[in-house]
């Protein structure tokens, strides 16, 4: 069984069928479809961060760098007025982002703990200012993508990216694949080593593993996925802005990941859903939504020891 945790299995069985049917109920209101799409895109991003932080013990405050790069790489390499192939560019973007992650990971993974948090932040800020100061990519105001890629694969076009519902299903599929992929990875032999490194790096070195290489692999993989999420986000509205790379984006992703239950992978979806749901309803209720948001976050930290996923697990295991 791939989803061997009972709570996770329930969650997968409830969430994905519901998400699959959702657009049928929301036909009249394209906004909710787009909102859910955004939530799912961000969930992919948070999931990749959750893998790094929760499974590998690599806390980064610079993950948004790859989220933003996902968009900017597309802006840089794709022709402005010509539709390119979605899958081909997905491949390009992931490879380029992975290459960047390899170099940056090589540097940042020498440090650990708070120092790693800060050095990842440093690189993210440098990239942020690079795009914000440069005139070539729209600077601080951002840049538009005028033509969305087409998604034909072997002559078969499954998704029309201009259609919000199609795009919704593309993102849902991506989200499921990401969850599935991380489940495979955590269950694999590679995952075994990563678990060991997370639990006891010294012991793992003493057993003969070069833990640096494993961490670098995990970092590269998660970063490439983060870039993929950023690429999807860019395509949704055709808009790239340096604020995607800002540390606040990394910060909110981290908050959502901790809220969802760090290291649980599927908790990322819960975290994003709850956070965005609260944000959405509170900002419609009151101008001082920040106050309630902050208070709720504080309450949740104190009440839920292992995030929402941890709380659900406790509930379900009790029976």
């Amino acid at each position: 069984m791939l989803f061997n945790n009972r709570t996770e299995r329930y969650f997968v069985w409830v969430f994905f069928p519901l998400a699959l049917l959702m657009p049928l109920f929301l036909e009249q209101n394209t906004f909710y479809v787009s909102k859910l799409t955004t939530v799912m895109i961000f969930a992919i991003f948070v999931m990749s961060l959750d893998y790094l932080v929760g499974r590998c013990g690599l806390i980064t405050l610079g993950h948004a760098m790859f989220y933003g790069l996902g968009g900017y790489i597309f802006v840089m390499i794709a022709p402005e007025y010509e539709a390119v192939n979605f899958w081909v560019y997905t491949f390009y973007i992931c490879v380029i982002a992975a290459a960047v992650a390899l170099v940056i990971g090589f540097l940042v993974l020498r440090t650990s703990g708070i120092y790693m948090i800060m050095i990842t932040l440093a690189f993210a800020q440098m990239t942020y200012y690079f795009f914000s100061d440069s005139l070539d990519f729209g600077g601080n105001d951002g840049v538009f993508i005028y033509v969305k890629p087409d998604t034909s694969l072997f002559g078969l076009s499954l998704f029309d990216l201009e259609n919000p519902t199609h795009f919704y299903y593309l993102c849902l599929l991506s989200l499921f694949n990401t969850l599935f992929f991380f489940r495979l990875v955590t269950r694999s032999r590679f995952g075994r080593v990563i678990d060991s490194i997370h639990e006891n790096p010294g012991r793992t070195t003493a057993l003969g593993y070069n833990i640096f290489v494993f961490r670098l692999m995990a970092y590269t993989m998660a970063s490439a996925l983060g870039a993929y999420a950023g690429y999807l986000f860019t395509l949704q509205y055709g808009f790239v802005n340096p604020s995607m790379l800002a540390w606040t984006t990394s910060g909110s992703a981290l908050v959502m990941s901790i809220l969802g239950g760090i290291g649980s992978i599927y908790g990322a979806i819960l975290g994003v859903l709850v956070y965005e749901g609260l944000h959405f309803s509170l900002e419609h209720l009151t101008e001082h939504w920040l106050l309630f948001m902050g208070a709720l976050i504080i309450l949740m930290v104190i009440l839920f020891k292992n995030g929402i996923a941890g709380y659900l697990e406790k509930l379900l295991e009790r029976r």
Binding site: S188, G191, R192, V193, E199, A206, L207, G208, Y209
Partner: protein
């Protein structure tokens, strides 16, 4: 133990003028030792004698300030810490050092997997290849933990955790075992189990044992080294070392752990 075996067996691990300074402090000063195959080499000395430092150097955890470590004829003091383990130098730690949240089997599987390969296989299940788990199970069996196979390491007794740690080292299929106080904090019966285990193991491996339990060391060692203040005092058979007046002086003079 038969003395002939000692003379015939070959040197596996060797140190030449090994020194480790912490700032101005000499933790280890000019240590030259030879460790032989299929022989248990005990290292004793009062607290602060540099025993653990020596082990940490031998396993690559620390880099020596000067001097060399030679393994099977090749100098290895410049290689990375993880490469020591790959050359077959396995160690256990003074403080229990396992993966407490994983099962005993999983603890050993990590160790086996290192040489079985597939660590960069991202997609295939870790449980797919049964050979790996068989070898891990064998290691557990050797230390007598077969019945604890599927229990989470944090939930087994302290003595069993020490056994598990030895099993993990065995699972890496080492040629040298560096054991740092495997009996520390154990009751008599548990110690006895470990002693029996080590007796078996030294038929197969070169073992370097740092231990405070003198009874056990005298009982097990084929060769014994005494260290004081980071310096080498004497090396020889148990009987010779035991009668050496300098050893008595060193221990009595320290007023510490008198034997």
């Amino acid at each position: 133990m038969n003395n002939n075996v000692i003379l015939e067996s070959q040197v596996i691990l060797e140190t030449e003028g090994l020194c480790k300074y912490w700032g101005g402090l000499k933790a280890l000063d000019d240590i030259s030792l030879k460790f032989h195959d299929r022989e248990l080499h005990g290292i004793v000395g009062p607290n602060g004698a540099g025993k653990s430092t020596l082990l940490n150097l031998l396993c690559g955890h620390y880099k020596p300030t000067s001097g060399r470590i030679v393994h099977e004829g090749a100098p290895i003091d410049a290689i990375k810490p993880y490469a020591f383990a790959r050359r077959g130098i396995g160690r256990s730690f003074q403080k229990t050092n396992i993966y407490p949240n994983a099962t005993c089997l999983e603890n050993c599987s990590v160790a086996v997997q290192r040489r079985m390969g597939g660590s960069f296989n991202f997609l295939r299940s870790r449980h797919r290849q049964e050979v790996l788990e068989e070898i891990a199970t064998e290691a557990l069996e050797k230390v007598g933990l077969l019945s604890r196979r599927n229990e989470v390491a944090a939930h087994i007794s302290y003595g069993e955790q020490r056994q598990l740690e030895i099993a993990m080292v065995l699972a890496t299929s080492p040629c040298v075992l560096l054991l740092d106080e495997p009996m520390a904090g154990m009751g008599h019966e548990e110690s006895q189990l470990i002693i029996e285990l080590l007796k078996q193991l030294k038929q197969e491996y070169c073992i370097v044992l740092v231990e405070h339990d003198m009874d056990a060391v005298f009982e097990l060692s084929d060769k014994l080294t005494v260290m004081v203040d980071g310096q080498h005092l004497t090396t020889g058979t148990v009987d010779r070392v035991r009668d050496d007046p300098r050893v008595k002086e060193a221990y009595l003079g320290q007023g510490d752990e008198v034997y």
